[in-house]
Amino acid sequence: MKDRQFGVITFKSTNYAIKGESVFKNENIEFRTIPTPREVTHSCGLAIKFDLKDIDLAKKIVEEKSLDIEGMFKVVKKNEGSFAEKLS
């Protein structure tokens, strides 16, 4: 698999994640609901995945809609290993 990176937003609970998804659906942003990547946390939660080019927009949505998030991360996947960095 080739190297790639993307942003994820994690939530404090599944219900907040479901709410987050419905908010994002009404915004003009490309995103996916995915299982929280292992690099971010070992919990089995849901997360919102977005393109890093939309980072400002994603932050704006979270702020304006007062989404109860746990954190925003940059996930980097490489053949030699993957890792996550906290964005905010």
Partner: protein, 198 residues
């Protein structure tokens, strides 16, 4: 004939795949796989074991394991009947949600599950969709993009024709092939692993 596979620095399951590939090419002789961690050493050893080949592990250091695998005449012919346990798997989708309890949650879980399939290699060999599961392969499904990606990677995608008919969505199919119960039965019965999601 001696062959060496240097799988140091390779993430799981790469060392196993690399070893398997070379073993398939090798008609007879010794193959040595070098890995840099214990988990990879165990996995490659398990592969040798499952194929019925003799192997010996030589630990040079904590970061250097040499696994010598002997493929000889005395062993069973690997071309006859050793399925690829790493790939030979069918996943059946019996519904367009995952589990019961909450439909809203079930729909999110199934999206999440199909996305995970695209992330974890090796991919399964076949995905089968029946009853409500056929909604996942048709127009309006939120997992189409992932299913198309899997199809491009060689995963066989089969939707139950009777089911598409029942829901009157045969013309809405967006990915994979339509098939019948005979094929579905074959695909469920033949692989090493069959998993049902629904």
């Amino acid at each position: 004939m001696k062959i060496e596979v240097d799988a140091r620095g390779q993430a799981c399951p790469k060392p196993v795949i690399m070893t398997k590939k070379e073993l398939d090419n090798l008609s007879e002789g010794v193959l040595t796989t070098i890995v840099d961690n214990e988990v990879a050493k165990d996995n490659v050893s398990k592969l040798a074991n499952s194929l019925g080949y003799e192997y010996k592990v030589d630990k040079k250091s904590d970061k250097e394991y040499y696994i010598h695998i002997t493929k000889g005449e005395a062993t069973v012919d690997s071309n006859v009947c050793i399925p690829d346990t790493f790939k030979d798997m069918t996943i059946a989708f019996a519904s367009d949600t995952m589990g019961s309890g909450s439909e809203e949650l079930g729909k999110i879980l199934i999206k999440s599950f199909v996305y995970t399939l695209t992330e974890a290699t090796p991919f399964p060999s076949t995905l089968i969709f029946y009853n409500g599961g056929v909604h996942l392969t048709c127009e309006g499904s939120e997992v189409l993009e992932d299913l198309k990606k899997l199809e491009e990677e060689g995963v066989e995608i089969i939707s139950c024709g009777t089911c598409l008919d029942f829901f009157e969505i045969k013309d809405k199919l967006q990915v994979g092939e339509i098939s019948n119960m005979y094929t579905i039965y074959e695909k469920l019965k033949n692989p090493m692993n069959t998993v049902t999601i629904g």
